[in-house]
Amino acid sequence: MRSLEAFYESELMPDLVQLEDLRKTAKKRMVPVVVFAALFNLACLILLAKTGLPLNMMLIALCISAVPVFIWYAKYFKGYKDRFKDVIIPKIVAFIHPELKYEKNGMVPKTAFINSRLFAEHPDRYYGDDLVSGTLGRTAIQFSEIQVNRVERVRDHSAEAGSSRKTRTRVYPIFKGLFFAADFNKSFSGTTIVLPDKAEKLLGGMGQALQKLNVQKGELIKLEDPEFERLFVVYGQDQVEARYILSTSLMQRITAFQTRTQKEIRLSFSGNMLYVAIAFDRELFEPALMDSLLDFSRIKEYYDDMKLVIDIVDELNLNTRIWSKQ
């Protein structure tokens, strides 16, 4: 297999050079937009202070200054971003594995997220992009970036009496990061969930007692691997089934994966599928605006983020089909 460096030089470089021009233009055009917005808002603020008009009027000023930003986005940035996602990311995906397909606007369906039962809260708002899907060996996989929020309507105490707005919505994040779904190599009927172990790390034995009270996710399953138990807590409906899924070797593999990635990882085994949620704070697979595209370390970052997820198939040995499920 070719090295990433060689691939970068021969396949990506020509496109990146073109894109770099688009990026530079977008960046250059952004400067007047930002300067205008800053000066305009400052001027309005001073004007309001002098005339003694209510501060709410600033909202209008903000709206006006947003117009050039939208125009800039539509005219310069969107085209650049789309080109990047149409050209560069698919090439990286194909480089990692020729069987994989990339869709910039696709996402892992909301039903998969709900079926995983990893998060108890209801996903009211579900967004995502950068879907990668395909079959690696005998395992069908898909993953995408997703962002899931819960929305709560709360009474608005600050609203004046008689005003029409009595409630306002408050948005709580549930999950942001990469969500991976794959066909699991063993068949099973219930749901087994592996979560990062926060309570036990902090409180030790007390934490374990608290985990036992968490009945909504199922029974607490205490496994034999001490390293795995230190990092994760497992809930399931069936003590034997959970151990059937989490064989001693799979526990070691999950531990190794966690140690290598150093991310917050949640796994769920439900409906013969494996779901993995890896939390990320930053946006993934987005083009840079301020820094040069012609930087190998940046391409390597896209590659590493993607490889991290795709490697789950090999690391968790999902292509071993020696059980009755083929």
């Binding site: 063993k186 205490k222 496994l223 034999e224 003590q239 034997v240 089934e241 959970a242 151990r243 059937y244 064989s247 001693t248 020696i322 059980w323 009755s324 083929q326």
Partner: protein, 185 residues
């Protein structure tokens, strides 16, 4: 007077809670063992098919097939103590392992879909049995801990509870399989 009554009531309550928790732990261990039992039977149910698939080829290894048939008969009869069940499981695992190794010598047998399916089913039951063993050992650990730890050890002594033994696997199984020697012939 009131204080004495409260102390007595609390003491009685604690004893009741400890008693119930011990009973729960004991029953959980028993349930876990019966799961192993069920899965062992499931494995023995595959034996007739296995024999049917291999006996045409394995004329030289006929002894092994007789052994395993006898074991199945014993398992189906159903009158076995826990220790006997554990022992039978160990022996059956060894014999099935030997059959699988012997099958390597017969390319026709290995290539047949029927045998491949059977092998997959056996692998699956094997994996489930190992999971059930682990579940049993986990519940035994819980139970034994309660028997040794204060203050439940006092109640356990009053109840004449005894420590249960773990479901050990045979030494040969635990040793790493030398793949080279399997294919040397």
């Amino acid at each position: 007077m009131v204080i004495t009554a409260i102390v007595t009531a609390v003491a009685v309550l604690v004893v009741i809670l400890l008693f119930n928790s011990l009973v729960r732990k004991k029953n959980q261990a028993i349930t876990a063992f019966s799961t192993i039992d069920v899965l062992l039977k499931k494995r023995f149910d595959l034996i007739p098919n296995l024999i049917k698939a291999v006996q045409r080829y394995m004329q030289h290894e006929a002894g092994v097939l007789t052994d395993i048939t006898a074991m199945r008969a014993k398992a189906v009869s159903g009158e076995m103590s826990d220790a006997e069940t554990a022992d039978l499981d160990r022996k059956a695992t060894q014999v099935i392992g030997r059959i699988m190794v012997a099958a390597e010598n017969y390319p026709d047998l290995k290539a047949s879909q029927n045998f491949a399916d059977l092998q997959a089913s056996l692998n699956e039951v094997e994996e489930q049995i190992s999971a059930a063993r682990r579940a049993y050992n986990a519940s035994v650990r819980d139970y034994n801990n309660a028997l040794e730890m204060f203050p439940s050890n006092i109640v356990a002594a009053l109840m004449h509870y005894r420590k249960r033994v773990f479901f050990e696997i045979a030494e040969q199984e635990r040793a790493n399989v030398d793949v080279g020697s399997l294919f040397a012939s």
